[in-house]
Structure formats: structure tokens, C-alpha cells
Symmetry: C2
Subunit: 785 residues, 2 copies
């Protein structure tokens, strides 16, 4: 254990003072940053925004991690769960010098400090949270709950890295946070790095005490050790005592981490080793005002945001603020130019060891391209469209198997899935890769090993959080999940999209691999699980995100899926949604046609259309595998029954091509759009998701009211596959009826055919209730000329 002398601890204390000073300054001041004059109302910002309560604790930890890093040459990054303590992290990144390197106008002097204060939470300035513009951050901590899952994702496959994850005791009440402690059971001490959870019990969330804040040490020890952690407690409010004790505790934890790793690295993985975790109890708003207007502040929920309000108009409050700020002795920590005095500055680590400058927190810097086997090698040989049935995702599984092999050495690819890899027909990956599990393994287990890179935990939150952490630190992966339950972590998809939307604006943030979400077991084919499993809602959620990052693909078959997946895994900075079912399904395109089709985003399928020499009477559009099936089968039926009706079939893979170009970079120019959809002909559109989404996408196109969309209408249960499309009015017969109703030119011929379709629907209804499965002509339908 390192010898900690009193002078060093005192220097650390002053460093902490500096961070706290800068935190308060950011919240309150727009001028007079160094308090060179007595504080007066015009120095105060007109709107006081920011969170003080969590900040001193965040800074305390930062300062101490700095010491640890410096002494041990440790490779560490810092994730602030209570990201509302933005000014604290910005203060520390500024003190260590990173901030001025990234933002040269925020110099380490009087003027720079002035700008630092003014920019915080103000127009044209920086956000209040530890967000994208904060160097060293891969986690903004805005929507609470993900700090541990992000931390573990960052640690995976980074054997040297230690991720310090500060968890607020309020945050600790969120479901995603509680669900992330068990990540330990998936952390391999040989090939992965370490996570050091620091549960920061300052007792309160916004106004209420926290459950863990009020729990006894004994109860907390039981809880956290129940996950396998070796739990360490520290509580106090006397700064010097706390400095001493926390420095020692960090040394202890560091050594325990290294011991866990060394033991496993020399003796092999033997279950989950006793990784340390810290429970730190300090007062909320520590070192801040003790009392304001007769009410206790420090150590209470009242310290959460801006502890002294009305400073501009209340001279007494203004005076309290000044006293508070001066208690940090700014004159002794900043020199006359406002520069951090070197005696303190040198406590920070150097170069990329600074937590704000660690490349793992700007993962794109470390990103290595995936070695991607030629996806065309996994193609299905489709000789004739719509004649053979195959499980499309199985082809993807084979390709992914070989991605695992090709990147074995790079160790930078993982598949995340809530225990559905087999169910989703991706099981070929198990030929070369295992499921990861660091708990005991028994003989019945299927492809399970501490070395696996298929991450199966029954938590969409954890799968996605791990993947996000993995991506943000410069690696690659896929999250494969049942379509309906992708909504479980929809808010994470939103937050990650927002992160990306901001990230791409910052030139210093290097590109990272896209968040690839594969939705299988879709609404149309969850006929066996029923209504709760039928929900294509994530499409609507992602549609609302910015065109700069949001992508939605609906490949209709295996070859298109391969082409799309290849594109997505090569892409950067996007959120890619890929939607396709896992059941055997008709295959439409050979590989070359699939590539052309996916490159264009949408195509007219000549072979399914009969409008070769003329303008079509009706355009039949489709997006998604089942809608494609129903559309093509409808076109086929119409061709048999009313060949004089001219129908064009357009298939959409890349949903965003339907947007006007000013809304999405994939958006199709109007002229091209009209080439496919005509100017004014009715379009009967079968859509995978909720139908009205298409109306919002095609808004602004010529004669938008001619789009008649069928899709998932919230009708579902456990039934047959065809009954699902019938219930939702999207069956081939419904589409035929819709087309026939719109086909003005041949309207003499249509009533009889509409009646026939209705008869077929009635026949289906009776048949499935009698036979409990679909009619053979439906089940086994293929295209014939």
C-alpha cells in the first residue's frame, strides 16, 4: 500500500476545493470568475441552473482516482451515473487540462474560466449533464439507470481497463441499474477489464430519501455481496479524515482488482472472483452551505439543485454565496492569471492517462474495422423468385459465425441477445463461439463458457446497455431481440440516438460503430405467443429520431438481409434497425438482385408486375417480409383472375428512402419516387408496422392521399400465420379487394372478384377453425407463371 503523507492529502484537498469552486462558479457566475471583486448581482447569471448536490461527491472521487492512476499508472475511465453533476466533471476535466486541449478557447486562465462559467447551461453553451461535449464521457447520465451496464460493456475485451462507475443512490433504485449488478456473472477476469462500482449514498434523490441511503450497512452488504461483490464501506463528512480513508480504500480496491485478475490469469477462470465494490456515504451537497433561511441544506435533499436561490435579488443570499465560494480559497488554488497552481496541477495524471483524455472514452480513436467475410458467400441460390422457403436469419447466423472467427484475434465483436439466439435461428454461431457465463457450468449446458462472446442474459436493458458501452469504447456488435420486446429498452435506443445526434456534430469525437438492432420473431409470426408478443412499435420510435443517425431496414428475404447486415456492420454513428422474421419464408431475390435492390433502397419488381408496356392501374407497395409475401401473392392472384388489370409491385427495403430528401439523406428525389409510384395512381401499401407511419413518411409526396396502407392494426392472438394477416386486414385477399376497389379502368370486372376474395376469406375462417392450421393453398403457395 502506498504511503500517503499528510502534505499530499492536503494538496488533494485543495485540488478538490478547486473542483468544487469551479462547480459553484459554473452554476452561478457569469462574470468575476476569480472573485477578484466583491460579488455583486450583475456577476450572477439570470437563470440559475445545475445540480450541486451530487457534485462534490463526484469530484471527491475524481480527485482520488487521479492519485490512483498516477501512482499505479492505471488505465481508467470514469462514468458518472448522476450525470446531472455535469459541472463537477467539467471542472475536473478542465483542471487536468484536457478541456482546454479539446476546446482551445476555454483557456486555463482568467478569461478561459470566465468563458467556462458563462457557457454552462446557457444558450450556445454546454449542456448541464456529463454529455457528449464532455471529454472523457461515454455516458451522460441524463436518463438514470445505465451507468453499470455501460461500464461493463466498456470493460469487456479491455483487459487492462478499469471503469469506475459512480452510482447515485437514487439511480440505484431504477430497474435498469438494479438489473445490471449481476453483470459480474458475465465478466471474465482474464480477457475483460474491471468495473469498480462506487455506490454514492448521499441519502437522497430529488426530495425523498433513498432506499439504500436508509438501509443499514449490513443490509447493503448482504444485497451487493449477493451479486458476488466484495463490499467496502466508507462513511463520513470530515474532509481530511475522508481523504485519508478513501485513498487507502482505493488502494485496497485496486490491489484486489489486480489480485482477481492475476489469479485468474495465472490459474484460469474459476467462477466469479471477489471483485471489490465501494459504498461511499457522504453528505449531499458536501462542503456547501449548511443552512439557508433557517433550513438545513448540506446533507439534505435541499442540496440537490441550486442550494441558495434568488441570489441576484437577495443580498443576504448573495453574501452567503460569496462566503461559500471563498471557503474554497480561490486565491490559493489559482494564480493571479487564473491558472491552476502547478503544485496542484501536477497531481493530475498525464496525457492519455487523464480520464478526460483516455482514448477508451472516445472509442472511435481505437476502432478497428471488423473483418467481414464476403456476405455473398452465404447467399441462398434463388433460381426463381418465390418458390423456396428458408429461414433467412439462419443465413445471417452462418455469416455471423464467420465474423466471430475472422475477428477472433481482434476480440472486438459480440452478439447480445436475451437468450434467444437459438430461437432466432442464429445458432450457427455456436459452431465457433460460446455463450458467456462465469458461473458454474454443468454437462447439460449448451455452448457455455466464460470465454464466450455471445451474451445471453434475460434483460433487454442489460443486453443493450452492454452493447452501447462496447460500441462507445470502439468495438462492434449486434443486439438481436424479439421485435415486441425491443420496446422494453426503447428509451435506451432513444438516448443512444440522441448521443449520436450530438456526437457527429463534434469533430473531436471519432466515429464509432453503429448500434445494430436486429428485430426478429416479429408481430406477424408471433402467432404462437400471442398478442403481448405482437408489437412493431420500435419502428415508430426510431422514425422520430434524426435522419442523420436513424436507419430502418426491412429486408424481405435472406439475401437482402445479408446485404443489409453487411452495410450496417460497416456503417458508423447510426442506429440501424433491421426487421425480419425467423420462420421459413419464401425467398425472392438472388444475391445480385438483392444487392442492387438494397443499394437502391426500393425497387419495382418487374417479375411480379404486369405493367411492362403501360402505366399501371394500381401500384402495390410493400415493406417487410410478410407484407411482401401477401403483396406478391395478391399480385399473382390478380394476374390469374384479371390479367387486364395492370399492377406494379414495388418493394421497399430501406424505409427512409420514402422520406423527402430534405428530411433524410436516404430520401428519394421526387422524380425517382414518381418513377416507381407514379404521379397519381392509387398505391396499395402493405407495411410491416403500424400502417399510419407510412402516411407520415410519404407526407409531401405527390397526391399523398392516394396511399392506402395496410399494416399491423393491433389485432392479434395465438392463431395461424395467415390468420394474423387476415385479422389485420393485410392478407392477400384484403389487398386484392383494396386494389380492385381502386381500379377504376376495369371496374366492370371487379365486383365479382371482390366477392370471390370475400368468399376465400370466409373459407379461410372456417378452415382454420376446423383444421387448426392454414389452408394448403396458403401455406404452400409459391409463384407460378
Amino acid at each position: 500500500m502506498a504511503q500517503l503523507d499528510q502534505p499530499q492529502l492536503e494538496r488533494m484537498h485543495r485540488y478538490w476545493n478547486a473542483a468544487n469552486y469551479l462547480t459553484v462558479g459554473q452554476i452561478y457566475l457569469q462574470a468575476n470568475p476569480l472573485l477578484r471583486e466583491p460579488l455583486s448581482p450583475e456577476h450572477i447569471k439570470p437563470r440559475l441552473l445545475g445540480h450541486w448536490g451530487t457534485s462534490p461527491g463526484l469530484s471527491f472521487i475524481y480527485v482520488h482516482l487521479n492519485r490512483l492512476i498516477k501512482e499505479r499508472d492505471a488505465n481508467m475511465i470514469y462514468l458518472a451515473g448522476p450525470g446531472h453533476g455535469g459541472p463537477a466533471i467539467v471542472a475536473n476535466v478542465y483542471l487536468e487540462g484536457t478541456y482546454s486541449e479539446v476546446y482551445p478557447h476555454i483557456t486555463q486562465d482568467h478569461d478561459g474560466m470566465h468563458r467556462l462559467f458563462r457557457q454552462f447551461s446557457t444558450p450556445g453553451g454546454i449542456p448541464s449533464h456529463v454529455s457528449v461535449p464532455t471529454p472523457g464521457s461515454i455516458h451522460e447520465g441524463g436518463e438514470l439507470g445505465y451507468v453499470l451496464s455501460h461500464a461493463f460493456g466498456a470493460a469487456f475485451d479491455n483487459p487492462d481497463l478499469i471503469v469506475a462507475a459512480v452510482i447515485g443512490d437514487g439511480e440505484a433504485e431504477t430497474a435498469p441499474l438494479e438489473g445490471a449488478w449481476k453483470s459480474l456473472s458475465y465478466l471474465n477476469p482474464i480477457r475483460d477489464g474491471a468495473v469498480l462500482p462506487i455506490l454514492h449514498l448521499n441519502g437522497y434523490k430529488i426530495s425523498s430519501p433513498t432506499v439504500l441511503g436508509r438501509a443499514s450497512d449490513e443490509r447493503i452488504r448482504r444485497l451487493i455481496s449477493g451479486y458476488g461483490y466484495d463490499v467496502h464501506f466508507l462513511e463520513g463528512d470530515d474532509p481530511m479524515q475522508m481523504h485519508h480513508a478513501f485513498a487507502e480504500l482505493l488502494d485496497t480496491c485496486y490491489e484486489k482488482i489486480r489480485a482477481c485478475q492475476e489469479h485468474a490469469r495465472s490459474h484460469g477462470v474459476q467462477g466469479v472472483p471477489p471483485w471489490p465494490a465501494i459504498i461511499l456515504r457522504t453528505p449531499k451537497g458536501w462542503t456547501g452551505p449548511k443552512e439557508v433561511d433557517g433550513k438545513r441544506i448540506e446533507g439534505t435533499y435541499r442540496a440537490h439543485q441550486v442550494p441558495i436561490d434568488g441570489v441576484k435579488n437577495n443580498p443576504e443570499h448573495l453574501h452567503m454565496l460569496e462566503e461559500w465560494m471563498r471557503s474554497y480559497q480561490p486565491d490559493e488554488i489559482f494564480d493571479e492569471n487564473g491558472r491552476f497552481i502547478s503544485e496542484l496541477a501536477e497531481l493530475a495524471p498525464q496525457g492519455t492517462r487523464r480520464m478526460g483524455a483516455n482514448p477508451h472514452a472516445n472509442g472511435g480513436l481505437l476502432l478497428q474495422d471488423l473483418h467481414l467475410p464476403l456476405f455473398t458467400d452465404y447467399a441462398l441460390g434463388v433460381k426463381k423468385p418465390a418458390t423456396e422457403r428458408h429461414e433467412s436469419t439462419r443465413q445471417l447466423g452462418m455469416w455471423m459465425r464467420d465474423i466471430f472467427s475472422a475477428n477472433k484475434e481482434q476480440q472486438n465483436f459480440r452478439l447480445f441477445c436475451p437468450d434467444e439466439t437459438n430461437s432466432n435461428r442464429l445458432s450457427n454461431v455456436f459452431e465457433v463461439e460460446n455463450r458467456c457465463f462465469v458461473e458454474p457450468i454443468i454437462s447439460d449446458d449448451d455452448n457455455l463458457s466464460p470465454d464466450g462472446r455471445v451474451m445471453e442474459v434475460l434483460s433487454e436493458h442489460l443486453c443493450q446497455g452492454w452493447l452501447e458501452g462496447y460500441l462507445l469504447t470502439g468495438r462492434h456488435g449486434i443486439f438481436a431481440t424479439y421485435e415486441a420486446f425491443a420496446m422494453v429498452s426503447a428509451s435506451m435506443t432513444i438516448q443512444h440516438s440522441k448521443w449520436m445526434e450530438e456526437g457527429i456534430k463534434l469533430p473531436w469525437r471519432a466515429d464509432i460503430s453503429s448500434l445494430n438492432i436486429l428485430l426478429t420473431s416479429t408481430c406477424w409470426r408471433n402467432d404462437h405467443n400471442g398478442f403481448s408478443h405482437q408489437g412493431p412499435g420500435l419502428i415508430d420510435t426510431v422514425l422520430s429520431k434524426k435522419g442523420t443517425v436513424a436507419r430502418i431496414y426491412l429486408p424481405p428475404d435472406a439475401n437482402c438481409l445479408l446485404s443489409v447486415a453487411d452495410h450496417c456492420l460497416r456503417s458508423r454513428n447510426y442506429v440501424n434497425l433491421i426487421v425480419i422474421d425467423k420462420q421459413p419464408q419464401l425467398q425472392w431475390l438472388n444475391m445480385q438482385d438483392a444487392i442492387d435492390h438494397c443499394t437502391r433502397g426500393l425497387s419495382t419488381w418487374q417479375w411480379a408486375s404486369n405493367d411492362q408496356d403501360v402505366e399501371p392501374d394500381v401500384v402495390m407497395a410493400c415493406a417487410g417480409d410478410i407484407p411482401t409475401l401477401e403483396t406478391v401473392a395478391a399480385a399473382w392472384w390478380l394476374r390469374q383472375h384479371i390479367p387486364e388489370l395492370k399492377v406494379r409491385v414495388v418493394n421497399v427495403v430501406d424505409l427512409m428512402t420514402l422520406y423527402p430528401p430534405y428530411l433524410h439523406p436516404h430520401g428519394m428525389e421526387e422524380a425517382k419516387f414518381v418513377e416507381h409510384f407514379t404521379e397519381d395512381k392509387p398505391v396499395v401499401f402493405a407495411f410491416h408496422g403500424y400502417p399510419r407511419a407510412v402516411h407520415e413518411i410519404v407526407h409531401g409526396r405527390a397526391n399523398e392521399e392516394r396511399f392506402h396502407v395496410r399494416g399491423f392494426n393491433e389485432e392479434g392472438t395465438t392463431t395461424t400465420p395467415f390468420d394474423m394477416v387476415v385479422l389485420n386486414g393485410m392478407s392477400r385477399y384484403h389487398l386484392c379487394i383494396e386494389v380492385l376497389r381502386r381500379a377504376q379502368r376495369v371496374r366492370g370486372l371487379t365486383p365479382a372478384l371482390i366477392a370471390e376474395c370475400n368468399d376465400l376469406l370466409a373459407k379461410h375462417h372456417t378452415y382454420v377453425r376446423a383444421h387448426l392450421e392454414d389452408m394448403p393453398e396458403i401455406r404452400d403457395w409459391t409463384w407460378t407463371d
Copy 2:
């Protein structure tokens, strides 16, 4: 402790056999239900769907709870976390007689059993999960994770009720489930009932082992006791031994529950008492086939779904199935007519003590109307529109305060909120009601007591899950949350909507109170928290739900909010989204006008329009408080600057009125719609949420392409309120520009005005960066004539 004699245990075993037999029958058979003939392929369903693995465990517990209920006259309901074990619960509800009472055609005889088997997971039949059609269910267990939060919600304010909550070990990995254990810290042993968690460790989820399945008893004890539970273990696979031990264990737990309650009820609440929890380890697919095709089934993940496949075509498998089914000795549990023999049938409780018939599981039967104070008593006296600023939600808080008082005796109203009640300006409720907390309370705490009915836990999942459980058992409540983080539990909103969509189809399910979600701290006024806190996405999610249950209200001010909230709290079977910000905001309507406005759903605001004698040039529509502000301010500006331009202002409170009537019962007839929006005039629409949602809603209206919508475009950060609307192009000046660009009749006058608006926007931009707050003419704007 009750004396359990061997004959009784044997009878219970045979009862369990009956349940298992019926479970297998439902999965496999379409004929020959009693195996009166040798099994042959035509008896087998064409598609084998269902989950065997979890079922025997679910039934084991059911049978034993029956005994407990009967012996103690206990008031219990059963929540099956692994709801995919639907056939097991249906089997038990059938055996106890409830099923035939609810569904008279499913008689307790040969033909009824035949229908019972055939209907399971088949077209026109019943779903595979423990869903809405299952008597006794308030939890379908489709999307895993909510069984504990639902259970606690059901137990709140039901002092006599014991809710048995079976948790799958896979389910136990989900974040919402892990986040729900701590509900104990909010369960008051005096006024609330009890939850008995039964963690069912069958070792596997779908293909992988589970974390807790592999954890030692010691680790599990630490974990679960860390939440405060008194943990009891039982493990085994020998049925008779297990019957004996489980019966004893249930007796023990029952007595411990009653002891916890009695102690508190005679001595007062003294922290969280040691509530029992059960950890039950049994083999997955217990009593099912041991081995199939050389692979172990019972006790492995292979038992999860249909353990013997291909039965129709594989004679050996058919034979195994027959042996398996006969192992339950159907001839000795059902008489020659197929009736459950009375010796066993009498083991079930009677009447409403049967878990399938307990009225708490059909909560509408117990529902008592809320006493609602006259909401008009809380009105703001708005003399003139748009002249005073008030916090609208504060008025709601006062009304809610008095709702708490008025229903003090009924004890059937709670407010659920992730520690934001104060922040959301609902703090007047604390004049009469406390926050609930059963952990230690200290003097600094603010309105905290074990008796409180304001439920503040920092978990949207837990808040919503509790509320759902509370509603489903026939009570009332509100979930108030920051708008952006409503997406955290969006999937729960979806699942609850689906439950309601199905529930209203079943005449035997009595109406329950609506799920009321109040979204405050909205995107437009999260200017202080920044981009992660700015997301109106839940609107899109709820829009996709069926018109029969989904409602979205955007009251623009306090009086409208009161009127809407009154309506929502009186409503039944809906999911009501109410969106309004908490900051001081201009008030538009006096109470009578507000009531009229909300009753209509949308109105033309004459006072803000200047088209009294003529057709308007442009319609300005708005939905949401901030869009209304910007729209009215724009109309005012236009009136000052170009009075010859005729502008009509239409405000929308009830978003669903915009739908065509065939899509939503609130949908406005086209003629009425045209009265407000005209037939063909341009409509500039300022919308609270993502703008394109409006296009999907107005699709089908006359000339839908004339709707030009502004809304939240994913532009945000920490800035001033007005800068937020500027960034998203929805500011009054943007709206003016849009109107001027569309105003053909006066186009000679518009270029100069457009330039002026652009200048004002530039002025704003410079001003906020210089002054860090909005220009006074914006901040303090009011309507003047």
C-alpha cells in the same frame, strides 16, 4: 402448524397430476381427451404450441395454495410471472370449477375437456399465456418482468389479501423484476396486504442457465435478505417429499405473514418486518419425459416448450407422449364422464376463495367510484385570455389534495411518481398526504410516513407497475412523470393497453379505472436539463394503440387541465395520456370556456382569430401548451402587422378528435372538421410532439397535404425556453413566416414581414447569447388588443 396426513398429500399429488395431464392435453391433443382410445396421429394438433417447462411448477404451487386457502380461509390471488405457462393456470382454474362458470361451453366433462384442449393456442380459441381471458389473472406474464410490481400494487390497501407472485428465474434477470424486490420498503403491514414471492428456480430460461439458478443458496439468501425478506429454501424432485415439505413451508410462511401483520397492527409500524419469501428449486419440466432421442429433457432447458416434437409423424414419439400422459393416470382422476372425481375436486377452495374467482383478480367488481371534489372549485379566474402566468399543475395538485381527503376512508387512491411530485408542482398534496416509506425516517425528511399514499420511488417501472396492479384490483391512481422518461416504461404502457384492448371484449371482466399518465416537465421546458430530457415520444407510442382504449390530451392551461383530469379520473378502461408542463404559463380560458373546449375536444378560438366575417386565409392550429403560446403570439403579431390577413386559431385539446370517426370514437365528423379547418385553406399546425404524427392522424381529411406541421424536431440542449422553440422552428416568428408564405391573397405584403421575422430571430439569437435569458418582449409577452 396444520397436520398434514399422508392421504391428504396423496390426494394433492393426484390433483397435481390432473393439472399436469390437462396441461399436456392442451398442448398436444385435439381429440381423445381422456385417452379412452390408444393415441393416434389424428388426435394430435397439427401445430404444437405452448410451454411445458414452467407448467408443472406453476401447478404445484397452485395446488398447494389451494390447500392453504381452504385450511386458513385465506384471501389469495395468484400471479404467474412465467405467464407462458398458460395451460397450467387454465388447467387449475378449470379443475376448481371457475373456468366452466365463466365459459359455460367448457363443461367439466368429456366434451368440455375436448373443447378445452382444442381451444388452446388455436384459431378462435384462447391465447397461450395467462392472459386476459384467463379467470383469476391480472397479469399475463407475456413481457416478462412485472410480476412483483403488479403483485405489490394489488396488495396495497388490501389489508386482508395475500398475493402469491411466482417469479421465473429467467424473469428474475429482467431489470424491472430486479427493481421490484424493494417494494417491501413501501409496503405498510397495517393497511396493506402481503406479497409472497415464490422464486421458481428451474435452472433455465430458454436455452441458457439462469444466474440465480446457478447461484448458491447462500448467495441468494444474502441477495434477497438484503431487500429485507426472510428467505426460505426448498429444493427437490421427489414429488411426495416435495409435497410434504412445501405444504409445511407454506404454513410457515403464512404464519410469518400473519405474525408480521399482527405485530404491526397491534404495535404500530416499526420498519419493514421480516416478510417471508420462498426460493423453490424444482426441475424444469418436472414429471415430463426424462429423455427424448437420447437427450435429457426433464431438468434441462430442452423442457422449455414442447418437449416431444414431431408426434404426428413419429410413432415412437407418439408412444412416448401417450406413456407420459398415462403416467398421470387419467382414469383415476376423471370419472367415466370426464368429470374430475369429487374426492379431488373438494380439495379446491369454494366460491370466491378460489383463486380463479377471487374478485380482486377482476377488480372492476370491487371498484368504487372516486369521490371527486368539484374541479371547478380549483379554477383560475381567467378574466382575459393570455394575460396572467400560473403553474397549471399546481391547480391540479390542489384538486388532488382534496381527492386524497375525500377518499381517505375508501383508501382507494394513490399518486405514483419517480420522486418528482414537488418538482412537478403537485406539492399541495402534501398538505394532507405523505410520501410512503417504511424505512427509518429522520427529522429532515419532508412529508414522509409509512402511511403515505404518495408513492415516490426512483423507478418509472415500479411506479407504473404498482399503479397497474392497483388499478387491476379495482382502485384509482395517477402516474405523474417527466415526459421524456415516460419512455422508460413505454413497453408497460403498451402491454397495459393491450390488456385493456382485450379486456373490454370480455363481458365478464368488469370495468376498471383508466391508467392515467400525467406527463409534465415536457420537452419544451426541459431547457434546464437538456437534450436527454427532451422527448415527447410516448405520444407516438400511444397513438398506435387502439381507439377503443387510447386517449391523448394536451390541455393548454390550468382550467383545461382540471377539466381533462376530472374526465380521465372518471373514465374506465382507457389509457389516458395528459401532457402539460409545470412552469408558469399563460392562462387562456375561464372555467366555463375550458369545459366547453374540452368537451368539444377542439375549438376555434374566436378571440385570437380575426376571420369573423370571412373565410380565413390561413388556419393556425395548435395542440399543447407551448405550441398554443407560440401560435397565439404569432396570431397576435400578425394582427398587429398585417390586419388584412385573416387568421383563424384552432386549439386542440383531445388529439384523437383529429382522427376520422371510423378510426377513433372521438374522431370528428368530416363536416365538423371542415367547419374548423376549412376545406382547402392552408393549416399551419404547431404540435407538442414530433410533427409528423399529425400527418398520420389527419390522413384521409380533405386536402391533407395542406397541413404544415411544426413540432419537436429533435433539436435541444440546455438553453432558454424561447430558444427551444426557435431551435425547432416552432417559434411564433417561424409560425408567422410559415403563415405569410402560405397567404396567397396578400402576397404583396408578405416579403417585408418575413424579413422582419427573420430579423427578430436573429435578434433573439444574439440577445440570449449576450444576456443568457430571453428577450423581455418574449418572456413577458401577453395578449393585447
